[in-house]
Symmetry: C2
Subunit: 419 residues, 2 copies
């Protein structure tokens, strides 16, 4: 076997990022748009409001009628009509008149202010309705004017934004019944390893249940891509090769896990060699996940991740996530990164960069972090306690409690950072 | 119309929380479990590792054989077998012997340490394979012992935890082919308002496109529940009443939006009255969202939210979210809350509690916040800029730049808090 030469994490990510590209786009119904990434700017097709409208339930009046209104000398206006939300009226408000109007309804011509329902004293005199106003109402009071919220042709949401509830509201407001989004890439997942049992098999000596594929399917779904599980690779090189090549005809991204250690039964390196794939790297100077391979072949990507659960998890988040997120057109392709205050001393035994599973906690307005459990990469219990990676740069000898360190936030990071 | 008496936000939430309860549970396949909430503790059905295993590719040896090994006087061991991952062997390692072993494979009897492949010098002598070790290897080196990661019968993940990638890995490890989770509640959505156009209709004077229903469908999906859209309520009380009653036969939760202002055309109050529903409150001393109604009827919930987009958004997050999240069995039912450092002065004009749409930013290890855009509740552009609510307690007169304030994090809060 060729000797693997480790490269730095930063260099590994750089090699990946210079080859990533955005995927194809498609039009989807607004009903299907939640969670997708916008492939176009959302532009206001009209100003908001699109007409001068009442912000309150009340009466549309001419402000100048009330200039001298006071408690002692109130002003009265005759109610000459009524406008429900969505209605329009041809009636023009004349001096001394008012029109009953609902929240959101279009202002009638002639009027320039709304006196709120609570302020206007309404009374019936014979068959007529009159209101009494006992204070001056300024011009424009309770009126939302055309374009006050959003001007026509303004970009309201930028391309690359993930569509959540607020974006859906904007899309609907501006008539985006269909939305241009990036296609969700499909990622094939292969697991290698004769030691693997399926989740419903009883445990037998020497074997473990296949857990990495479920973890990867979850990570892929979190990113917004579509996982496609290809099962456990056969323990035979030729069959293995054929399976991988067939999968690469169906998907643009392939992840393998397990067998990526330097064991004898690891076919991934040989397959990449036979495919004449471009191996960007096959070892990274980091823990966990040093035996991680990323290769491209034609326009396709192959991620050979370690079989070690923590290493597999880290490898996916650091290297596969930005490729998929870029394909998805996301604004932010990496895990969100911030600083945090370290809660304990750390002493490092080796010169590699480390991504320690960690628990970030927000207390007050400060972010704190402590590493979770023990520091061995085969500890799976740490996976559920962690909501962040604590990044320890290569060649760090020690870090003291209270120092600022870099953390990468995992999904649901904040929710799990607040008790 | 009855006068509505506003209650405090805290009181409103308290009234809700004392009536919430967890929903029914169901068994789902692990393949369908992502994002669901665990309705049972996940217990280790076996220790991890479940057997003493090698953490490295290398050779299983008897540590004591190497006690006197040195560069000058290396020790040699004869390789008597080989164990692939998943294999077991009957061969017992004897003094002076070694067995080639893969990462993750079960330790052979007799051996008590692994000498890593890189350290053992391998050579063929006649038909035999021998390794040379030139340093003492301590007992237990590179061996992961039974239960070292997880002890049998320990609770690994607690009930109420949302299932993400790490949890899937744990579930698979312990053979949870099926998982007990809470059923996803279905929430009906009605929109009221004759002023509403559908998203694909061209704008006409006095009307606006229906955007709140899309926003609510997004919010409901974010919470993990299932939205069911019932359309725009007819402009006729009897038809309205019948529609609501029919919907309440199908769903346990109903949200209405629009028409919840004090306009003439708001039937929701009348319907609740006719149903003899228990109205927990119909006005809250807060902005936006003061005209928010929450009622229960039999075992069902009705949320009458304001038609104003920002008020509708806030009303859902504050009052509907905890009810649905409790039904879903979530650990944390409210929006995550933390402190943040205010980036500008705030002066308040009225005594109500406020939930201002705000932008939280993480810089260094500190969280900062500033309010987004103008402070009127009909400004929809703020919905996409905000990743948090800035909470301003009732009767606050002013807050100065640099003071700590309370914020509630919205979905994707962290991702959008880091540039």
């Amino acid at each position: 076997m060729e000797e693997r030469k480790p490269i730095d994490v930063e260099q590994a990510i750089h090699k990946i990022m210079e080859r990533t590209k955005q995927g194809e786009t498609e039009m989807v119904s607004i009903d299907e748009a939640m969670g997708r990434y916008l492939a176009e700017d959302v532009v206001a097709d009209h100003p908001v409001p699109s007409f001068d409208r009442s912000s309150f339930d009340g009466f549309a009046i001419i402000a100048e009628d009330t200039t001298n209104a006071s408690f002692q000398e109130p002003v009265t206006c005759k109610v000459v009509g009524r406008i429900g939300a969505g209605d329009v009226t041809d009636t023009i408000v004349q001096k001394g008149e008012a029109i009953r109007i609902m929240t959101g309804a279009q202002m009638p011509k002639g009027a320039n202010a709304i006196v709120a329902l609570e302020i206007a004293k309404e009374e019936q005199i014979n068959d007529e309705t009159w209101i009494t106003v006992n204070r001056p109402i300024e011009k424009g009071t309770n009126v939302a004017f055309i374009g006050e919220d959003i001007q026509k042709d303004v970009v309201i949401v930028h391309k690359g934004r993930q569509i959540a509830a607020g974006e859906l509201s904007i899309l609907a407001t501006f008539g985006y019944a269909k939305v241009k989004v990036y296609k969700r890439p499909i990622i094939g997942v292969f697991v290698t390893g004769t030691e693997l049992l399926s989740v419903d098999e009883p445990l037998v000596p020497g074997k473990i249940r296949n857990s990495n594929s479920y973890m990867l399917l979850g990570q892929i779904a979190s990113v917004g891509a579509i996982p496609k599980y290809y099962g456990i690779l056969p323990d035979d090189y030729e069959l293995c090769y054929t399976s991988v090549v067939q999968a690469l005809e169906e998907v643009d991204y392939l992840v393998t896990t397990g067998g990526a250690s330097v064991g004898d039964f690891d076919f991934v390196q040989d397959i990449l060699h036979e495919l004449q794939a471009t191996v960007l790297f096959n070892k990274v100077a980091m823990r966990p996940g040093s035996v991680t391979t990323v290769a491209t072949w034609k326009e396709k990507w192959i991620f050979g991740l370690s079989g070690n659960p923590a290493a597999c998890y880290v490898g996916f988040e650091l290297f596969a996530r930005p490729v998929l997120k870029t394909a998805l057109g996301a604004e932010m392709v990496h895990l969100p990164r911030s600083k945090a205050i370290l809660e304990h001393d750390i002493t490092m035994g080796n010169p590699f960069a480390r991504f320690t599973r960690a628990k970030a906690e927000i207390r007050g307005s400060d972010i704190f972090v402590s590493s979770v459990g023990r520091d061995k990469s085969d500890i799976i219990s740490a996976l559920v306690e962690a909501n962040a990676f604590l990044f320890i740069p290569a060649r760090t000898k020690s870090i003291s409690k209270g120092e600022e360190v870099t953390i990468l936030w995992l999904d649901q990071g904040v929710e799990r950072a607040i008790e």
